[in-house]
């Protein structure tokens, strides 16, 4: 049998980890071993895991810092939910409707990613980061002032003020700052799990392809990559749009698991939260993103015992972890007390 390369083995392990976690959680929840709060957290955890994977594609693989990733999640959440609500009669089957709305959400987010990518990807470093932040805020403001209603004729859209008069049997879907109330929760843990698998398959296949190597070459040295004939803008755009589409699908999954969504949920703080998952999990390491996203979504819930201090503890844990993993002195200290086993990272 051909020996698998180190990367394919790590990728295989990531798949095994995700499937095992799914099976264990499914068994636990069937046996009643999960608390009801944790049960309610399963869909958001899946959504955040996909968000972390998608942002890791931008930050870890493409090497550009994005501070507005929640904007794409927002586009996906609202586009997907509007699609799901308006297709309620046409598609009675919930899984099919969820699939279609996710595709709509991902598509709309991809379009937004493309439009934003045109100006953003011309910039570098911190300037790119601030422009993505700006776009995140712009998307939030726009969605916050968007009104969408539906009646027998079709969808009606108005901006800033609700000027529409709906026909017989019409209803408002998106109501500006009030968001979308009364969503049918059609997202399931299984759907979230499948979305994580799809995201992993897409990202791993991209990374191991010719395009993926070109993208990583741009990350490591843009000038060198350009000089060997790699079209920098094309590959940057490819990674960025893909990342936006995945974020859109995650947004749809998230919104469909809530009873109501509002635009201000997807603000700068959410973007930062996802960035924290990615950096804590390790740049370019997909399994790290998965674990960090899951652990940090559960952590505030797990700390609910001392409710008033939980966010404070969260902040301290965050700072201490960053110090412990990045300070050369502390790093060598940990290396001494936890001796590295030979080849520990390879066999596992």
């Amino acid at each position: 049998m051909k020996r698998l390369s180190k990367t394919s083995r790590a990728n295989g392990l990531t798949y095994v980890m995700v499937v095992a976690a799914f099976v264990i959680l499914q068994a636990l929840s069937a046996g009643g071993g999960l608390s009801s709060t944790l049960q309610g957290q399963l869909v958001p955890i899946c959504a955040y895991v996909v968000m972390a994977l998608s942002l890791n594609l931008t930050v870890g693989i493409l090497g550009e810092l994005s501070l507005g990733h929640a904007g794409f999640m927002s586009v996906g959440a609202f586009a997907g939910t509007v699609a799901a609500v308006s297709l309620q009669a046409a598609l009675p089957s919930a899984p099919v409707r969820l699939l279609v709305s996710m595709i709509v959400g991902a598509g709309c987010a991809a379009v937004a990613g493309f439009l934003i990518g045109i100006p953003v990807l011309r910039l570098n470093g911190d300037y790119l980061a601030i422009v993505t932040l700006a776009f995140g805020e712009i998307i939030k403001s726009i969605v916050n002032n968007l009104y969408i209603g539906m009646d027998g004729v079709g969808l009606h859209v108005s901006f800033l003020k609700n000027t529409m008069t709906l026909g017989e049997g019409g209803r408002m879907i998106l109501n500006g700052p009030m968001g979308i109330p009364g969503i049918q929760k059609i997202s399931t843990f299984t759907a979230g799990f499948l979305l994580i698998l799809v995201a992993l398959i897409i990202i791993f296949n991209l990374v191991n392809s010719r395009a993926g190597r070109a993208i990583m070459a741009i990350r490591d040295n843009r000038i060198a990559a350009e000089s060997v004939g790699i079209g920098v803008t094309k590959y940057k755009m490819m990674a960025f749009v893909l990342s936006a589409a995945l974020a859109g699908a995650a947004g749809t999954l998230f919104a469909q698991g809530q009873t109501a969504v509002i635009a201000t949920k997807f603000d700068f703080n959410t973007s930062i939260l996802i960035l924290v998952f990615v950096v804590l999990g390790g740049l370019g390491r997909m399994w790290g993103s998965i674990i960090a996203a899951a652990a940090l979504t559960i952590l505030p819930e797990a700390l609910r015992g001392f409710a008033t201090y939980r966010m404070l503890v969260y902040a301290i844990v965050l700072i201490l972890v960053m110090l412990a993993t990045n300070n050369p002195m502390l790093k060598s200290f940990f290396a001494r007390i936890i001796p590295k086993r030979k080849g520990a990272s390879v066999d596992g």
């Binding site: 100006p119 300037y127 776009f135 805020e137 965050l318 960053m322 990045n326």
Partner: protein, 302 residues
């Protein structure tokens, strides 16, 4: 006349942004890091001043001085504990630590002072000697042009700070050391400059300015909450980038332009979309001048 009113309000808000942006831009210039906790230092400064005057009954000027002292100490302690151990780490790691620090300050404030909004007292009032009426501003041209004392003080403070800081960085020994460090840390160290002290000093000055900005901000917009600092923080950061990050005149220009655009957009275009308009202008400026208005574009060497 209403336009002039809006313009003055815009310049006043912009002056606050400019003072906050100075903290971002100086720290970025020297430590090459985005100090996300800066916005929350503003909030701490405002709270200290609030309690100094409302609970201990100190006169406003003492309250401001106390806030400046507390924030300066806070800035130096934050730098020592959280950022200094990460001097050699990647910029992303430092960024996340700064975000963690920002969460920490916000939540600590929430525990200490609860999330109930406090109404910041109006400091800048003048009591009419004859009638005994308390005035918060002067009106000119038969009431058509209203200047609040808070705006006047804010704009004046901004001008004074700018002049003082420009003199400090160009004339004093420490200021020269700062510029040397921002140019090349290793070379500065070889010239006998203590880089660590210089960085601490930068944080001290930035945080001290943040305290002033906090008091000025809350004098014009008097709701004080643990999250008060975060949005002005983001806006000021935007202003620093707008003017060219690392440049002190850039922070002034960026801050004032941002404030004016925000107030004018609110007045003439749309209240709900004012933030979106501010950010859209930023994007357009960065596309035309990728290093900001007054930033130096560093040529890449191959």
């Amino acid at each position: 006349m209403t336009f002039l009113n809006h313009l003055i309000n815009g310049i006043s808000l912009g002056s606050v942004y400019a003072i906050i942006a100075l903290g971002y831009t100086m720290v970025y210039g020297i430590a090459k890091m985005l100090n996300f906790a800066h916005g929350d230092v503003i909030m701490v400064g405002a709270y200290v001043c609030f309690f100094a005057s409302s609970s201990f009954g100190l006169p406003p000027i003492l309250g401001v001085l106390l806030a400046m002292a507390v924030c300066t100490a806070l800035g130096v302690v934050i730098e020592r504990l959280a950022y200094k151990p990460l001097r050699q780490a990647t910029s992303l790691a430092v960024l996340i630590t700064a975000i963690g620090m920002s969460y920490f300050l916000q939540n600590a404030a929430q525990l200490l002072w609860t999330s109930n909004p406090k109404i910041f007292p109006t400091f800048f009032t003048v009591t009419d000697r004859e009638t005994g009426a308390v005035k918060t501003g002067i009106s000119l041209f038969e009431g058509q042009l209203n200047l609040s004392y808070a705006s006047i003080v804010t704009i004046a403070a901004c001008i004074v700070i700018m002049i003082a800081l420009t003199l400090f960085t160009s004339k004093s020994k420490m200021g020269k050391a700062m510029r040397a460090c921002s140019e090349d840390k290793a070379a500065a160290q070889l010239m006998g400059i203590n880089v660590n002290t210089t960085i601490s000093m930068t944080f001290a000055i930035g945080s001290c300015l943040a305290a002033i900005a906090g008091v000025l901000l809350c004098s014009s917009y008097p709701t004080l909450q643990p999250t008060t600092g975060s949005m002005p923080g983001i806006k000021a950061f935007t202003a620093a980038v707008f003017g060219g990050i690392g440049s002190i005149p850039g922070a002034l220009l960026g801050g004032i332009l941002l404030g004016v655009i925000e107030i004018l957009a609110k007045a003439y275009l749309s209240t709900q979309l004012s933030d979106a308009i501010v950010f859209a202008v930023l994007i357009v400026v960065l596309l035309v001048k990728p290093a900001g208005l007054l930033g130096k574009l560093v040529r890449e060497k191959v």
